[in-house]
Structure formats: C-alpha cells, structure tokens
C-alpha cells in the first residue's frame, strides 16, 4: 500500500473529528467550556495560594505549626529571623544575584548579537549545543567545578561563586536573547551604519535599546536563578559569613531536630521581598510591550 492510499484512508475520518471539535454546537457548549476552564483554573489557584496564605499566617504567628492557625499578629518571628542572620544572608544573596546577573547579561547579550547577526561557523550546531546545556543539571558540574575552585584557590569567594552562577544562566539567556535580537529589523542597523556609525555604537545605541525588554527578561531570570541558588553557594563557599539566604534558611529546619515554623516563614517572606520588588518594578516595562512600530512599518 502506498503512502497516498494510507493518507486517503485516514484523512476523511480525521477531518471529520477536527471539524466537529472546532465548531461548538451552540452557546450552551461555549458556556460549559468556559465554566470548566474557570473551575480548573480556580482549583489550581487555590492549590498555589494555600502555601502562601500559610506563609503569611505563620510569619505573624508565634505558635506556628505546619497547619493553618489563627495568627497572633506578632513580629517576634521576624525578630528571630533577623537575629538568626537573615539580614546578612539577604545581603550575601543580593551580592551573588547582582554580580552574576550583570556578568551573565553582558556576556549573553554580546554572544546573542554575534550569533544573530554574524556568520559563525557551525552556528546551528553551536545553538543546539547551547540549548542542550540549558537542560543540564547543575549537580553534574558541581564536583568538577569544586575541584577546579580548590585548585585555583577560588573557593569561599563570593565573586567567583557569582561567576559560576552566571555561567549556569548564560546558555538560556543566550538562547532567549538570540531569538529576541533576531526580531529586531536589520534596517535599523543598516540605517545607522550608513550614517557612519561603528559597530560597537550600533550595538549600544540601536540594538540594545531595541532589545531591552528581552535583555530585561534574561536579567530577571538570571537574578531569580542566582537568588534562589542553593547547591552552588553551599558547595563552593563554606565561609559562614558568606552564606546566602537560600542556604541560611536551612538552619530553621534542622536545629534541634525540629522545624521552627514561625521564624522559617518570616525568613521566607523577608527573603522573597527583593524578588517581588524587582518584579513589580520591571513589570511596567515588560507589560508595556514593545513594538518596532513606526520604525519600519508603514
């Protein structure tokens, strides 16, 4: 039997199914469909909301347990969290996140621009390699990286730890930004070039401003990734003074074999605040959307 025969036998039935699926029979069907979608979303929303409610509730409850209870509205848990070094840990996290974000964003922007605009040998192989790397678990790299760090004397240094954090974010950021820069029409760069502009200036004045939303997304993702990083700073930096928030939070769970739910929740809220603020600040730019309208379309 040839392939054409197969196709002819399969297609009519398939087409029928598609036809019926895509055309609702009436309003009732549409409303039923909507109801189902909203109900599913509602259930999912509650599933995600419950832990958050618990977090806020327990943070203010001096007798917090693993279950929800009436809050006592006390700041004692926050005081306990700060006494346990939450302030310093957040500062350490901030250092790791900011430095790794700056490095990763700068490196991946340059790499993405080159991959987007220049003729690079084995480009598609390279890009697929980068994509593959985004899926690689960090644990795989950690032991050899630790060996290298010990060898080079880089261990216990927040800067070199940030470097590794940046490296783990670069593949995804390059992939994201390359696709973003691909969308920037080349005419802008050509128009700038014919005005006598050097390539560095074109990158700085034209490409980067026009790719800013993409760069921002890459930066935020890197920041969040570094902010929440646990394993890398735990292994590469044994100095207690350098402990970042994600590692520091661990102390409430193992101390005396019990879990101090109240301070843990308060610490969690303090630890998530910078990310929430970052998100609020950036969402203005991100939601505003960005079009090249007016520049090249008539």
């Amino acid at each position: 039997m040839t392939t054409i025969d197969v196709a002819e036998q399969v297609m009519p039935g398939k087409a029928d199914v598609l036809l019926h699926a895509s055309i609702p029979t009436g309003w009732k069907r549409v409303r039923m469909h909507k109801l189902m979608v909203n109900a599913t979303l509602g259930v999912l929303g509650i599933v995600f909301l419950l832990p958050l409610i618990w977090l806020v509730d327990s943070a203010f409850n001096t007798h917090a347990t693993a279950s929800l209870g009436a809050p006592a509205l006390s700041l004692a848990n926050f005081r306990a969290a700060l006494a346990a070094g939450a302030g310093g840990a957040i500062k350490n996290s901030l250092y790791l996140a900011v430095v790794s974000t700056l490095i990763a964003t700068a490196v991946s922007t340059l790499a993405a621009y080159t991959l987007s605009r220049r003729r690079v040998p084995f480009k598609s192989t390279l890009l697929l390699g980068v994509l593959f790397l985004t899926g690689l678990p960090v644990t795989l790299l950690l032991i050899p990286t630790y060996e290298i760090f010990v060898h080079l004397g880089w261990a216990n240094s927040p800067f070199y730890t940030s470097l590794v954090l940046a490296a783990t974010s670069v593949p995804f950021a390059v992939w994201l930004l390359k696709n973003f820069i691909d969308q920037v029409p080349k005419e802008f760069e050509e128009a700038a070039a014919i005005e006598g502009t050097t390539e560095m200036r074109i990158l700085w004045k034209i490409v980067i401003p026009l790719s800013l939303p993409g760069i921002l997304v890459a930066a935020i993702l890197t920041f969040i990734n570094s902010w929440g990083a646990f394993l890398i700073p735990l292994v590469l930096d044994a100095n207690p003074g350098n402990t970042p928030g994600a590692v520091g939070i661990y102390q409430f769970m193992s101390a005396n074999g019990t879990v101090q739910f109240g301070p843990l929740a308060a610490y969690g809220i303090l630890f998530s605040l910078p990310v929430v603020v970052l998100y609020l600040v950036c969402s203005r730019w991100l939601n505003g959307g960005f079009a090249f309208a007016g520049g090249v379309k008539g």
Binding site: E190, A191, A192, A193, I194, E195, T197, G295, V296
Partner: protein, 366 residues
Amino acid sequence: MAKIVLQGVTKLFKGKNSAAVYDLDLEVEDGEFLVVVGPSGCGKTTTLRMLAGFETPSRGVVQIGGKTMNDVMPKDRNLAMVFQNYALFPHMTVEKNLAFGMKVRRTPKASIGREIREIAEMLEISELLGRKPAELSGGERQRVALGRALLRRPQAFLLDEPLSNLDAALRAQMRIELKRIHAQYPVTTVYVTHDQVEAMTMADRVVLMQGGRLQQLATPEMLYDQPVNAFVASFVGSPKINLFPGRVVQDGSGPKVSFLTASYALNGSHGATFDAVSTREVTVGFRPEEIRLATGNDPELPVVKATVELVEPLGSETHVVARVGELVLTCKLPARCGLSAGDTVSLEFDTAQMKLFDTESGIRLG
C-alpha cells in the same frame, strides 16, 4: 558629489543557481538622478545594496567618487540611504533621529540644532520634532527619513522604493517634492523603484533591469520611443504596448508585414532591415495611442475590424479594449468617443512608431 561607476558587477547568493545581478556595467554621472526600475527580483535592490556596502559584489568593481569601494565598510562610504520602510529608530524622537548621524560624526552641538531646524522647516516637519516615529503618518515618516538623509550631506543618495508605502495622492506629491529637492541639492542619486511611472517622471536616465541583467539604459523618452527589446517596450508605458504575432514576407514590391487581419508594406528603415529576408516571424508592437478609429485619410495605413469589449472613460481620454479574432488590443481614444461594448469598429494603426521584435529573442528589429 560623486560619479558612480559599476564595472562587470555580479552578485551570486549562496544556494541560488542564477546570479541576482549579472555583469552590470553602469556609470552614474555626478549630480545625475538615475532611476533603476524593474519587476520584483530583477536585482535592482541588490544593486543598490552593493552601492551602500551591505552586500559585497561576487565579481566586478564598484567605484564611488573615483574610489574603489568593494572593501569599504558602509560607514566609511559617505552615502545616505532612504529605506523602503524608512528605518527610523523607533526609540528616538524625530529630533534625535535627525541628530543621530551628526552626533556620530561629531558635529558641534550648536550647528546640529541649527541644521535640524533648517531641514525641518524645509520639509515642514518642525512640529513633529518631539514625536516618536510610531506617532507619525506614512508621509511624515517619509519626510523624516528624507531629512535624515539630507543632513548626511552625502556624496550620493541611495533611495530604495521610498514612495511605495504611501497612498497614490501622497506619492504624486512626494514625486514632485523629491524632484524639487534634487534641483536644490543636485547630489548624485540612485533611486530604485518597481513603478515605471516614478521612473519615467523623475529620472534623468532610467536603468531597466530584468533577471539580474541590464536591459536598457536611456532617458525616459528614449526608453519609451526606442525600446531595445519587447520586454522594455511592454514594461514602459501605461496602458501597455500591444504586441501581436506577425510575419514579414517578401513579395514583388518588397518586404511586407502581416499581423491580425492587416498587412503593411515596409518602407524606410523598417524596409532596409528586412530587404534580405524571405520570411520571418516577428512580434509587432503598437502603443495604445498609435491605434485610432479609422479615418481613411491615408489608404496605406493598416486597418482592422474589431469588436469593442470594454470601455474605460478616464475623463481626458478613453481606453478601449477591443477584440480581433483571438487577440485583444488596447487603444487610447479621445474622450467621449461614443463607443460601447459590443460595437464593431474599424481601427487604424499609425505605423510611424511601429516596432518590430524578433519573436524568439525579443530583440528589436526595426
């Protein structure tokens, strides 16, 4: 101010069998307004991009202002270009767009402001200086793009279909404006378009390209009156030239061409071309204005009977589509000619401008 010379320029793209531009020789005189015209894919934009430096010729030499430019970067060519889509920087105001190039070239701040004011006034965009490109209409964007190019003070202007995104009325207005600006700043200009009307109305000389090859380089009048081949003849002119299959035969008195239901004794230059041939298949070309209602004043002129299929009154004239057997022809008749579809008419062909082309190659024979 500069002369542009292309010598044997060929552009091959990877993965394409035929050249985008093939063996192009071209000289654009200093201050000339040259229009490159042709159907899409004819190589006209590739040619312009090679002048700008965005593409490197595979073979041949590009010279601007006496300097070979093959290996010179676009930024060092001192050219200005207006892009089909304007390519105004969307994140900058009109003023910043205009100032961009001057800042790059380190023009003193005071003169940047003055020059922008002057050019904005000339292009009537003074009120738009604070706006972003997205807030402008097509015509306004066009002016800003033009202003940016003018401020470059280039040795040559390159324009890539600059009017194709405008509506018809604005296009006609901008045609006149561009001509005026060129008269004011007579800088060598290469203007690419697919619109033969733009080519005919604006050019000092026109380059007509097809399939990556130059078909003819001539003044608009020459292109219209003396096309070198059937393609040029049919590309230029609206409505299109009528092309009929015909045959030249010898009889006792000399060569004769027969087409449609008519026959005409070739004399003068036509006759000389065909003196030696016995029989030859040709394509006979008459422009629509060379076909008129038969008057009978000159019995030598070929006359055919035709059936009117379509009448298009344009006010100042009437375009009539008529059928002769299998073939359809278009003629320009005076306004209010009183014809309607279905009428049978006698049409007379003015042979003074009759064009004969070789049927196979399309080359003009006489």
